[in-house]
Amino acid sequence: MKTSPSISVSHLSKTYFPTFFSVAVNIAKPLTGRTSSRPNRLKAKKAVDDVSLQIKSGERVGIIGRNGAGKSTLLHLIAGMTAPSFGQIDIQGKVTAIFSLGTGLRDDLSGKQNIFLSGELQGKSRSEIESAYKEITEFANIGEFIDLPLRTYSTGMKARLAFAMLALEDPEILIIDEALSVGDSSFAQKAKKKIRELCDSGKIVIVVSHDLRAIKDICDRCLWIDSGKVAFDGSPVEATTRYLHAVAQNDDSESLAGLENSLKTRFGSLLNKDFTLSLHQSNINVGHVPVLFEGQPFGISSTYTNLKTELGWYRLRLERLDGVLVDETIREARQSNKTNTTQLEIKFPSLILAPGVYVFTLELLDSIQAVPAATFRIFRVMSENEIAGGKPLLYYHARITPQEGSSVIAAQQS
């Protein structure tokens, strides 16, 4: 009687140390007098850092994380391809891993020959392979290509064949690394169904993917790995949302500095300390980058003084971080006569922008459309609501009401 498969990992760490060669090169560096732009390679890298987890029979576990977060190392450890530096792994069951699809397939053999060869290597009998062959060809659905050498296959076909050949393996713990992203949508559906079937019969499936939708569809548990540690372990929907937020924040801080610099170069000498722009919302968070909340009213104030030229127009532009021009208004300018200081107030009844980073630029134009002065302000929009099904430019509201005379129970906006 077989026991059901399970994985138990406690305090698992994997450290990659610098190689002897790189140490030697570093020591020799001052002696040879050669200066190198290469970074120091003498740091040990903790690819997996004190990870403990239990995976029970029948679980479909997704693993997500940035490139280099340690996902692959963790799987290699579970698959026994590399030894842990510290900690324990206890695995019940046979591990089958697809790290890169098509490993072990021979390019010069046809699909059919590959299936039979692989079956023989697994120690299956002729009749077992023949029945599996039927199943595989049906699943892979590559038609007459099955009798052609593998080198004539497209990536998608290879992936389908390799996945279908799992039928030969009879896996108890199946590890799939980035392998599902190659097929088209109908194949993805079939693969998902197959994975469900495996798990329903008590097997374990672990999927690593950057395709968050696939993770949400396939898995019932999701681990988010960040710099070698488990940052989150729980429902796929929550894990992917948290992960996406973290990625977005991280990217923003890098690109914000770039945006500010590019705006400074764009406007150059037009920027003037006597021309200011500020944003206000009741709960404004005054930091380097103001944070505004979607769905609430907000306003822009601007003051300028001592302009020598005669003003013609104001031009207010709103741009998104990726350069999309969201809004542009050109208005006739008025310079007040009494004082040298002019104040401009622009009010928005509601902030209807989708979450992200934006910039307002305000330019003063003279009568011949030249720009004597400009100013800008970068800000971030946050929202408490999440819109499902796409990424619109605006978060705008709409109402749906039953028409009079129609027979309706009730209608409301969520």
């Binding site: 692959s72 990217d251 532009r317 969201v326 208004t329 107030e345 009010k347 509201h397 039953p402 027979s407």
Partner: protein, 345 residues
């Protein structure tokens, strides 16, 4: 067995064309024929200009080389002079974000790191013609965005390109023309939008029975800044307690842009059996003059945040049955017109 049969394709200078189709349709074979990997059995291919192939990236990489050594070999192989190589190497190192790994052997890389290296290296040089096979599915979300940006920059420098992909959204955004392949034959040729519509019509989900939109107009018009109202009738076989209506307004310029401007999802409605009419109202319509698509979706409520595979009814451009929305009044280069008031003191 013919992988590609009787295909005619013309790619002009500065043009980007897309090849879409299911697995095994012959897209990859066609791309490799264009790139000169295979010899055609019949027919001719005429090329003029440098070709940069972005498929099977890293096929020449020896795993014992460091990332830097690989990139240097690649650049040398592509005829770069020694003094051109150093700045390019720095650029590749920055773009691939490999950091200190750039000086470690490729066999220590994770698969994501490999593809970042190969992509950064292959795209560091400029060419007249780019052949791209699913190159945009490289790495995580952040890196994909970077790749996307880099490719569009390259392509906008008057380069020509053939793009092979499952991802029809990139065909919409980039390609002026697209070819739908099926079993090695061109099944459909046209602008990106019509080709994508044809492609999607072959793989779209079935409608669930029970409720349908009825008598929707093919075109509606609206004015910027004014309330937009539209009656929506729904016919259902019986009382339905929970139904969700979602709608979006999208701007689609084939080959240059595709944006969802407004998306409101999950308006809850409860139609009685027979026909029920609702009024959809968007106050102060914040979009400028132009032609848009208004898409409507009638679905059952989500379960665990996942939309059910079978919608009741769908009206959208990619099903070929959208409602055209024509907006009149002010003309602006911007995507939207935000409601606002000005005061000068």
């Amino acid at each position: 067995m013919c992988a590609v049969t009787g295909v005619d394709i013309t790619l002009e200078k500065g043009q980007i064309i897309g090849l879409i189709g299911g697995n095994g349709a012959g897209k990859s074979t066609l791309l490799r024929l264009l790139g000169g990997v295979y010899e055609p059995t019949q027919g001719t291919i005429w090329r003029s200009g440098d070709v940069m192939a972005l498929y099977e990236l890293g096929q020449f990489a020896r795993r014992t080389l460091t990332g830097r050594a690989y990139a240097r070999h690649f650049l040398k192989f592509n005829g770069q002079k020694p003094e051109q190589i150093e700045p390019l190497l720095r650029e590749i190192m920055d773009f691939s974000e490999l950091g200190e790994y750039f000086d470690r052997p490729i066999y220590t890389y994770s698969s994501g790191m490999c593809s970042r290296l190969y992509f950064a290296t292959s795209t560091s040089l400029s060419a007249d013609i780019y052949l791209i096979d699913e190159a945009l599915s490289v790495g995580d979300e952040h890196f994909q965005a970077k790749c996307w940006k880099r490719l569009t920059e390259k392509l906008n420098q008057n380069a020509s390109s053939v793009l092979v992909t499952h991802d029809w959204t990139s065909v919409l955004k980039l390609c002026s023309r697209a070819y739908l392949l099926e079993k090695g034959k061109t099944k459909f040729t046209g602008n990106a939008e019509s080709t994508v519509t044809t492609y999607l019509s072959s793989i779209r989900e079935q409608l669930a029975p029970g409720a349908r939109f009825s008598n929707l107009p093919a075109q509606v018009s609206a004015k910027t800044g004014q309330s937009f109202q539209m009656p929506i009738s729904i016919t259902s076989e019986s009382d339905i307690k929970d139904l969700e209506l979602s709608f979006s307004i999208e701007k689609l310029k084939s080959g240059s842009d595709w944006k969802i401007l407004i998306l409101v999802s999950d308006l809850k409605i409860k139609p009685r059996g027979g026909r029920t009419t609702f009024t959809l109202e968007i106050p102060d319509l914040p979009i400028p003059r132009g032609d848009y698509y208004l898409n409507l979706f009638l679905t059952a409520p989500k379960k665990n945040g996942i939309v059910s595979a079978q919608p009741y009814d769908v009206k959208t451009w990619y099903w070929g049955n959208p409602i055209r929305l024509k907006v009149e009044d002010p003309d602006t280069q911007a995507m939207c017109v935000l409601p606002k008031t000005w005061a000068v003191q």
